[in-house]
Amino acid sequence: MLEVTIHKKLGSFTINVAFSSGDSGITAIFGPSGSGKTSVINMVAGLLKPDQGQIYFDSEPLFDSEKKINVPPNKRRLGYIFQDGRLFPHLSVRSNLTYGMNLIPKNGRRLGFYDVVNMLDLGDLLHRRPAKLSGGEKQRVAIGRALLTSPSLLLMDEPLSSLDGRRKSEILPFISKMQKKFLIPVLYVSHSTDEILSIADSVIVLRAGEVVFTGGLDIKLVREHPEFFPTFGSNNGVCG
């Protein structure tokens, strides 16, 4: 269970959010660009320091401004899948995948290397360099690399936004499958209603740095609240 209450000023923009997300399933952080989604998960990951507040995961503090706790990102045990993949260009796919895995003791590894490789269909890519991969392949490697660190929570920042429609529909099933197979809770940042409808169980809607809605996500909710989900039905998604 992730519990977040944070306050952060970024220039003239202020982020003031409080939310919690469940032990399993995919929770979407949804909102238009500029609503502060990426800043929020960067703070969860420890890449951005909140001015004030608390971030607790399973009752363990990751950040607490009153207790002066700020766990560095490498000690947070969270997997982060970035919008732009961020594979290490100087390493092969295999070395990218094992980069984080090798940093945790063998008995702490909950996912087997080949389980992840097979699930994400990476077997044929292991010897390649990131420069020789397609956008979709890069994102699959990025997912595998994060999974292999056996994270207790996965953060995904618009992992499909750099892919075209067909590639998106290639990756989405992997994300759902991975979540069901390894039962790792996922925080999924997106601005696409279609995308989150097809994979997320619940949603946190952000507007201008504040939470305006949280709850379970289904088609009924989306239809009833066009003010939160304005893009639904527009042709930018994977369902239509």
């Binding site: 420890g46 490498n74 961020r86 290490f88 100087h90 390649r128 990131p130 994060a146």
Partner: protein
Amino acid sequence: MIELLTLTPLEKEALKLSLWVSTWAVIAILPPGVFIAWLLARKRFFGKTIVDGMTHLPLVLPPVVIGYVLLVLLGRKGVVGAWLYERLGISFMFNWKGAAIASAVVAFPLLVRAIRLSIEQVDQGLEAAARTLGAGPLRVFFTVTVPLIMPGIITGVILAFARSLSEFGATITFVSNIPGQTRTLPLALYTLTQVPDGEVGAFRLCVISVVVAFFALLLSEFSSRYVFNRIRG
């Protein structure tokens, strides 16, 4: 013909000394050079402009001035030099170590510039990604940053090495012109221009200098291309 192609003992001595002095000069400035380059590329701190200026100063100062400052600081009666000699028995005067220091100071800004430029090009998102994968700052530096800036490090090292090879003014002012100790290629060449009938010897040293410099540049070109291709896959 054979005599033309074999080096005389004096030439060999000067060439070996030049390579030795330059190698040590570069080895000595590489770690602080990478550190200062990183500091200037990534950190904001009080007095950054001063550090930046001090780093670049040897690039714009006449080398003779640098040699003189080194003499005042590190000479046997110098501010630091006297202490080093009396306490630790270390002296840089009139030996190859002094020549290496003169070369190091003069070459330092070139090394820092090249490395700093390549650090500025590194996508910091990759370093952030490595942090989220469980790597601490030092590990990130050595496993992500250093491999990515390797072309810059190689360029910097070769530039610094070449600058050391050509160092003249600071060396002759600081540690004089002593055969076998501080008489590197440029100093040997200068010496020959000062004696009657030295033209042929001077010309030969000139050719040797050109050949060495040319090989250094070739090596730089090939190695940075090789490393660059390795990084980009």
